[in-house]
Amino acid sequence: MGEALIYLDHNATTPLHPAVWDAMRPFLTEAFGNPSSLHSEGLQARDAVEEARARVARLLGAGPEEVVFTSSGTEADNLAILGSVLARQHRGRHIITSQIEHPAVLGACGALEAQGFRITRLPVGSEGLIDPDDLGRVLTDDTLLVTLMHANNELGTIQPIHACAALAHARGALVHTDAVQSLGKVPTLVDELGIDLLSLSGHKIHGPKGIGALYLRRGLALAPIITGGPQERGLRGGTEHVAAIVGLGVAAERVGAHMVQEMTQVAALRDRLERGIVATIPDVLINGVAAARLPTTTNVSFKGVDGQSLVVALDLRGVAASTGSACSSGSLEPSHVLLAMGLPDEWLRGAVRFSLGAGNTSAEVDTVLRLLPPMVTRLRQHASGSMRPATLTL
């Protein structure tokens, strides 16, 4: 007890970087102007918003006029999907996505389905990857949009976006990618990905919560989903959250400048964690291990263990991780991602995700590797094997 927090849940959210906070603070205090105002206070806020826009655009290899700020990655996904489809619905009724998307994308597609659009949800293979050939088979001239995540939040697997985009464009469909998890971890240059729309979020890259952005390729028309004032070129009404926008800009610039160095370090830590788990704990499976993956993420199934109980046991020792399948309200809610991969039942329930960040150390990884084996052994003993009645301790 009493150990310092070891935070291995960076795919859920990341700590705000001190430099981001420093940049934000004036815009929550003295620099309170409305960017739409014509006086000096307003102009100061406007300049800050536009500087942040340029910073985000640079990380994507895009132009500043191609970046729209939103309240979150979820809103960016909704604007991309609903906005592009509703603006072009006279041209088709078909949308293609995958079975392993983030709920923001699945939700937006579901909303369109309820309006009569046809949704195809591509399956994934045992490594959690979509097959571009599968996309090729379902694209039609009626397909308006293909929306596929760049990196999966649970597995870290990186989808073949470029290949999929080429296929989709050949049939005249737009391509959106949710890059919330991949931004700042692997290159996300929009021309290399070949996409038309890209969603991102501030709090996954050591920026603040409550801010996201959508890249939309020059000349692309979207229908706004939040109507109101002329902010964000009429694509997103509402007075800008200036401080959060400034924070996102600084966070984007920072991850861009340090990505190669930080991700090299994080990859070594992640690999150390995986090797240690496989070496010391029998009956474990690294999900998606054969796929291209984010350097930050590992998803491990511990056979015969309830993943949720392992996450709670880790939390009680100061280690923050997360689970795919959780038991709530008396029902098991298995990860839709692991289900789509076809992971067998005996592995499904014991899946735990560790997602690392640049702040983690090898000493922290070693602490986790010391804590895990007895925890897993104990939780397995609760359920099987022959044991004498005894009070067990961790």
């Binding site: 309830d306 949720q308 109980s309 709670v312 709530s328 329930r349 009645p389 005894a390 961790l394």
Partner: protein, 128 residues
């Protein structure tokens, strides 16, 4: 005592971290294995009943932290008690003894209660 975390009472955390009476009890004369059909939690309860009293109680549980804690606490609640004293144990009593459970975890106490009822139902006192 661990700091309460994850929304659980210190009692739940203690029983999850240090479960009592984990095991199979080879000379049990009453037992039940119950499953929550939705979430798949499995609780196996084994009792040794002597002279109308629960002399020993052991469990094995595959399930979440709340299911493990409820199983462990149940065995403590019933050990040494006469059968009439345990027959009316309700899920609410188990929940209360745990210092409360989050609403989404109340089924853990219900599963423990169900195991007890099943084990007692199947118990036939031997004569002689």
């Amino acid at each position: 005592m661990a700091t309460p975390k994850s929304g659980y009472s210190p009692i739940v955390i203690d029983h999850f971290q240090n479960p009592r009476n984990v095991g199979e009890l080879p000379d049990a004369n009453a037992q039940a294995s119950v499953t929550n059909p939705v979430c798949g939690d499995v609780l196996q309860l084994r009792l040794k009943i002597t002279d109308g009293r629960i002399a020993e109680a052991c469990f094995k549980t595959f399930g979440c932290e709340a299911a493990i804690a409820a199983s462990s606490l149940l065995t403590e609640m019933i050990k040494g008690k006469a059968l009439p004293e345990v027959q009316d144990i309700t899920p609410e009593m188990i929940t209360a003894a745990l210092g409360g459970l989050p609403k989404v975890k109340l089924h853990a106490a219900a599963l423990a209660e169900e195991a007890l009822k099943e084990a007692l139902k199947g118990y036939e006192p031997s004569h002689g």
